[in-house]
């Protein structure tokens, strides 16, 4: 079986959950995501804008002061 490229390895294997009622919209996850996956919506809550780009580094999860982000590997 052909091994997946590094970019494809993250695809379809993780699920990012953001608890909107816990998120305070500080923007830390958005600013420090190496792949610019996240954004703030019109209500200043974090949203997943480009899920295909996520490579599961987990930094958003670790740096979220509101513990609002959870990445589960599928």
């Amino acid at each position: 079986m052909k091994s997946k490229s590094k970019k494809d390895q993250g695809k379809d294997r993780s699920h990012i959950e953001i608890r909107r009622d816990w998120c305070k919209g500080c923007g830390i996850c958005v600013a420090f995501c190496p792949k610019k996956v996240l954004a703030l919506d019109e209500n200043e809550k974090a949203i997943i804008e480009r899920p295909d780009e996520c490579d599961q580094c987990g930094l958003c999860e670790l740096r979220c002061p509101d513990i609002a982000i959870e990445i589960t590997t599928l």
């Binding site: 816990w22 919209g25 830390i28 670790l62 740096r63 002061p65 513990i67 609002a68």
Partner: protein, 267 residues
């Protein structure tokens, strides 16, 4: 266990401001405990007063929310009574080095097996932005409207000279190394001090025009360097992070146990 299993969800969302570094510290403290595989019932969290002290309310361990600056005194009592439990004391810079300054140096001197996590945001956040013993010289605070003329403590140097057998520093930006440091601090037998540089965008950031939480974390990224790096030699103003002290020294509860044995034998 998932991270959220350690949280008392009924108290969430927490009261900390948007972008507060203390939330990041709580987040990574849970992750360190999860990696260590510690049971919730094996941990006692004892806190004093301040923004930092709220952590004990949010986490589902045995928790004590005690008097300002006195958390280490309560924690000492708990540890002597139940030496088998892990004691973690989250503190702010004011709680640890001003109101509780004496408790702090003496807990370090005794080398009692407690993990003190000092969230240093350089200011009293909860009470309205007064300067603390960690406010940097020249910085603004509500009680220093023309700039602070006090010199700041160095928590690492203070803990080291008072006798703590594990001393480390990290920042809210450096999440992955924070988790590793917490793991080592919790498993270390003796008094462990972890200083975490944490941002207070609401007071310290706003009063000193340091920008929002993201910009304050960028500051930690750019102005700190791993302990012993070449960068520090070139730029002495850089703040070092890493483990400064990690030594095996007689631990207080173990010494006390010996005294009990000795006294019983002599009866």
């Amino acid at each position: 266990m998932a991270v959220r299993d350690y949280i008392r969800e009924r108290f969430m969302p927490h009261i900390w401001c948007a972008g507060c570094g203390h939330g990041i510290v709580m987040n990574n403290l849970i992750r360190a405990i999860e990696v260590l595989g510690l049971k919730k019932n094996d941990i006692v969290m004892v806190s004093g007063i301040g923004c930092s002290a709220r952590i004990s309310g949010y986490l589902d361990f045995h928790t004590l929310h005690t008097l300002h600056g006195r958390a280490l005194a309560f924690a000492t009592g708990v540890k002597l009574g139940r030496p088998d439990l892990h004691i973690i004391v989250p503190m702010g810079d004011g709680d640890a080095t001003a109101i509780g300054g004496n408790h702090f140096i003496h807990a370090a001197r005794r080398n009692i097996d407690i993990t003190a996590v000092i969230m240093n945001n350089h200011i009293y956040g909860m009470t309205g932005g007064q300067y603390s013993p960690l406010s940097v010289y020249g910085r603004m605070a509500t009680t220093a409207p023309f700039g602070n003329i006090d010199q700041a403590f160095d928590i690492v140097g203070l803990a080291q000279s008072a006798g703590a057998s594990f001393v480390a520093r990290t920042t809210s930006y450096h999440a992955t190394s924070m988790i590793k440091i917490f793991q080592k601090a919790i498993t270390h037998k003796g008094f462990s001090v972890v200083e975490v540089l944490s941002q207070c965008p609401t007071y310290y950031g706003r009063k000193n025009r340091l920008g929002d939480a993201v910009e304050m974390m960028e500051f930690f990224k750019k102005n700190t360097t791993p302990l012993g790096s070449a960068a520090k030699e070139k730029n002495p103003d850089l703040i070092e992070r890493g483990i400064f002290v990690q030594e095996d020294r007689p631990e207080y509860c173990a010494e006390y146990k010996k005294i009990i044995k000795k006294a019983m034998g002599e009866q």
